[in-house]
């Protein structure tokens, strides 16, 4: 190869670029501050692909014998609130014809559904859990939802806040679970009522749910963790 000075200088500059790039990477910290911007730049495309993948059809379920009770870890944002079952009310309001305050007996009178699904945490662990309770779609239907409703805000007793796209909320396997693995829901897992769904990451599945609000558009707050940097759609 006839090495011209020009080629050498190009190679040398490329080499310098590569070396400085990798040392930046190993330093880590220099790139860390760009994480949020990198996420914002690519999430719209990723969300579009996620939306395409996420059909309305059901996700295959597991057998009850595959449940992994010891694999289900407990995360809590703000302690463990204890709600008295007798005075518990689930508020359903927003863009609905009949705002409601439902007690546990009303939820128990709705058709009950059990879903044996994989609960996947954003941290990386997962556990197969059998959730049961009424479908979220059936509960919303009681309140007469407006056709303009597009998002659902979910409030919890510990001030945890979430918003969902309505299609995911109305998915046939999205439940307002009152039971876990065949027993009443333990307090640590969200008693008396929590969200459970095979199509969302764990942090979307609020525990100790006390309020549902149908919204026509998203407000300033997307969710407790989303406002700190987690992705909003978080589909599986």
């Amino acid at each position: 190869m006839a090495a011209s000075p020009e080629a050498l200088s190009r190679r040398r500059s490329l080499g310098l670029l590569l070396a400085s790039g990798s040392s930046l990477l190993l330093g880590g910290c220099a790139l860390n501050r760009w994480s949020a911007q990198v996420g914002e730049a690519t999430q719209p495309l990723n969300e579009r692909i996620e939306g395409l993948l996420q059909g309305k059809g059901p996700v295959p379920e597991f057998r009850r014998s595959q449940v992994e009770p010891e694999a289900l870890l407990v995360n809590s944002f703000n302690g463990t609130p204890t709600l008295a079952p007798g005075s518990y009310r689930l508020a359903v309001n927003g863009a609905v014809r009949r705002p409601l305050n439902l007690d546990l007996a009303t939820l128990a009178a709705l058709p009950q559904r059990e879903c044996v699904i994989r609960h996947v945490c954003v941290e990386g662990w997962a556990a197969i859990v059998a959730w049961s309770g009424p479908r979220l779609a059936d509960v919303l239907a009681l309140a007469g939802p407006s056709p303009l409703g597009a998002y659902l805000a979910i409030r919890s007793a510990d001030q945890y806040f979430e918003t969902w796209d309505l299609a995911s909320a109305l998915h046939p396997q999205t439940l307002l679970a009152t039971h876990m693995n065949g027993a009443p829901l333990p307090v640590a897992n969200g008693a008396p009522v929590r969200l459970a769904s095979p199509i969302k990451l764990g942090y979307k599945q609020s525990k100790w749910v006390t309020g549902l609000e149908l919204m026509t558009s998203l407000g300033d707050r997307l969710g407790t963790w989303e406002d700190r940097g987690y992705e909003w759609f978080a589909g599986l």
Binding site: R10, N32, A36, L53, P60, V122, L236
Partner: protein, 194 residues
């Protein structure tokens, strides 16, 4: 020796950068819940991670994922269409088994190594997709149920396999550089990267 075609060099440089970003952001995600040991498990030193925290690591990992898939797909496609004789085949295994000629054996090992690297890169993409969308791609996750008789859930097997692509790739990379050196010397190495 003339420099390799521009697209070959572009793939090498770009792929190396993407792999470093994917590995570092992947280790950041690992630290949120270590695959080995869970919450009590040992974490990777911050020096080797990218993102600053779990959400930042996921931002990088899922931002680079698409570029990585496109780059790898284009590369494999080009190799298959335009340079099909470059990929290893059963002929190379025969050479390793039968030939006593060192240069021929080296070339065969070289071709086997980089073909394995491409397969491993595709595997890291598929195992990552399975973890990214386990509900929609449930059939991909179920491929990892092979260790269930030994008491490992398909999810744990999937996590171990996806993580294992980092050390496996590092080993193959060392072999690839050494073999390139033996086959073509420093000039081949330089003609491939710059």
């Amino acid at each position: 020796m003339r420099p390799s075609p521009l697209w070959t060099r572009a793939f090498h440089g770009f792929n190396l950068l993407l792999l470093l970003l994917m590995a570092a952001s992947g280790l950041e995600i690992y630290n949120a819940n270590p695959v080995f040991g869970g919450r009590e498990g040992a974490t990777v030193p911050e020096l080797f991670t990218l993102g600053g925290w779990l959400a930042g690591g996921r931002d990088w990992h899922f931002a680079v994922m698409g570029l990585y898939a496109v780059n790898l797909g284009l590369w494999i496609g080009l190799l298959l269409r335009r340079r099909h004789k470059r990929l290893a085949g059963s002929g190379d295994l025969d050479t390793l088994r039968a030939s006593v000629s060192s240069p021929r054996r080296r070339l065969a090992s070289h071709r086997l190594t980089y073909t394995l690297m491409l397969i491993l890169l595709a595997f890291s993409l598929l195992s990552g997709l399975a973890m990214y969308k386990p509900a929609q791609l449930w059939w991909l996750v179920s491929l990892f149920a092979f260790a269930e008789p030994a008491g490992f859930s398909s999810w744990q097997t999937l996590r171990v396999c996806h993580l294992a692509t980092i050390p496996a790739m590092a080993l193959l990379l060392v072999a690839h550089v050494l073999l390139s050196w033996r086959v073509g010397g420093l000039r081949l190495l330089r003609s491939m990267v710059f």
